[in-house]
Amino acid sequence: MPYTIQTHKLTKTFNTLKAVDSLDITVEPGEIFGLLGPNGAGKTTTVSMLCTILKPTSGTATVNGYDLISEADKVRKSIGIVFQDPSIDDRLTARENLTMHANLYGVPASEQKDRIARILKLVELEDRADDLLRTYSGGMRRRLELGRGLIHYPKVLFLDEPTVGLDPQTRDHIWKYIKELKEAHDITVVLTTHYMDEADRLSDRIAIMDHGKIVVLDTPPALKETLEGDVVTVRANNIDALNKLVSHWLGLNQTRIVDGALEITVHNGKAALPRIMEIATQNNIYVESLISREPNLEDVFLHYTGRSIREDNSRELHGLAAAQRRAIR
């Protein structure tokens, strides 16, 4: 079974910084492949290389069976891309932007009208089609960019953070739309994001990327299973003391401090709650709240990278978990 995308030691170096470091990934036909990572992980750089915009420093890749370097033109014809940053002409109307794209990608003139009408309907911009883009809201522009990437019926669609800056309703809408597209047109999608919920909801497989490398690659449920257990969140008056005590008691399990609360990963959350309460009480620590929940991708990310995906980087691994993480590296 040929892969839709296959990279061989794909590397991009900026001066001394290895933005993408010997990347070896395969993307299967028809899947939604999520590339998840914090700011600066190398997601956009990877996508830019796969789209032939950036030349790899070393290594190579095939996209739709075409070599990235020697068959760049064929690669370009068979892909669609929605860039992370805006890339529409706001002095033109939506219809003009779409027509231009169709012409650049050699869509036959006889088919253009139909395809453009269908795309406009899909992204729900029919009634604004002949307005200048500068009169559009950010979300409307984003929807148009998504639609534009599809006019030439690409086999692979690259979406670089497709829903950044959109309201929850529009995000939801776009997610639905991406899933529908994939099913209706048999498109393979490579999606980069730093939204956990986005990666979780859309991706068939997720690659967590950090410092230009893939840290782990699996299906969302399998990734969550690697954590094997529940996450208990405790708020108390002396978090640091409690952290030490709990780490000591739990041995190899994990604790970390997140936004002033203690997060503990345990095999059985419900059973751990009374024990944690007991430890606190014995040591005169006053517990304000105590909850157990199932792990989410955010926890997976933290587990594998030692960092929160949130921009402020407020979450850090503490105690044993950090030591464990260092040992893995």
């Binding site: 789209c51 032939t52 915009i53 950036l54 033109d73 064929k74 370009r76 014809k77 891309i81 860039f83 940053d85 805006p86 890339s87 529409i88 002409d89 706001d90 002095r91 033109l92 003009e96 027509t99 231009m100 794209h101 012409n103 650049l104 990608y105 050699g106 003139a109």
Partner: protein, 253 residues
């Protein structure tokens, strides 16, 4: 076929953007009028060329100047496209860099030509004598002059990261080319400093403006070079600059 459709669509975009920028179109009327009315009015009596009044002399020069300034200015579209991200959409398309360059070049040249035609229309209003046939002969010459100049503007812009730098570089190039082209005063004949004569022979615009004068002023004007030499030099300049521009676009990220 695909490349031709791409060329057309890129051309059309430049034209649309140009026409929609009404302020610029209107403001662009002002400068040539100032030269032709105020400058020619105040300065003209002092510069005597037998058989031609100064306004008539200046007229083809100001057409050339309009083409020069507009053409160089159009390079700004490249910087805008880079700044606002649209360049990525064009560069990732399955279209050759030559086509991308030519699309922009033809589009911007058409825009510059429209400006040139507007200045030409002022000629009618100001009563500069010529017959309508000259208009037909002048159009292709204006275009030939524009191609090379637009290519220079696009090439420079493809290297520039910001609008400010582009503005500074433009002034640096526009004014010497303008002053040394014979647009405002003859660049040969008695009394002209030798260095100025020499410098003007290296200026492609000198030949373009001389060609315009040959057509517009007819037998009253004694050309520096025969028309075919003038146009030959302009054509060579165009071909070289298109080559340079295509190379510059090829290395653009």
């Amino acid at each position: 076929m695909t490349e031709i459709r791409a060329l057309y669509t890129l051309w059309l975009r430049e034209i649309k953007r140009f026409i929609r920028d009404r302020v610029r179109v209107i403001v662009s009327f002002v400068q040539p009028l100032l030269w032709l009315v105020v400058f020619a009015g105040g300065f003209g009596a002092r510069l005597l060329i037998p058989g031609i009044n100064y306004q008539q002399y200046l007229f083809p020069g100001i057409i050339g100047q309009t083409l020069l300034f507009t053409a160089m200015f159009m390079g700004i579209s490249v910087i805008w496209d880079k700044e606002f991200g649209f360049m990525k959409e064009i560069l990732v398309a399955p279209v050759s860099r030559f086509t991308i360059f030519m699309g922009k070049m033809f589009g911007d040249s058409t825009a510059a030509l429209l400006q040139g035609i507007i200045v030409f229309a002022f000629g009618f209003i100001l009563g500069i004598p010529f017959n309508p046939i000259t208009l037909i002969a002048v159009l292709p010459i204006m275009l030939l002059i524009t191609f090379g100049l637009v290519s220079v503007g696009l090439t420079i812009a493809s290297f520039m990261g910001s609008l400010e730098n582009f503005g500074a570089i433009q002034t640096f190039i526009n004014l010497p080319l303008f002053f040394l082209s014979g647009a405002l005063f003859p660049v040969s004949g008695p009394g002209t400093p030798e260095w100025l004569q020499v410098a003007s022979t290296f200026n492609p615009l000198t030949y373009g403006i001389d060609a315009l004068r040959t057509i517009i002023l007819g037998s009253a004007w004694t050309p520096l070079q025969p028309l075919y030499i003038n146009l030959g030099i302009v054509c060579i300049f165009d071909v070289v600059m298109v080559g340079v521009g295509t190379w510059a676009f090829g290395r653009m990220k």
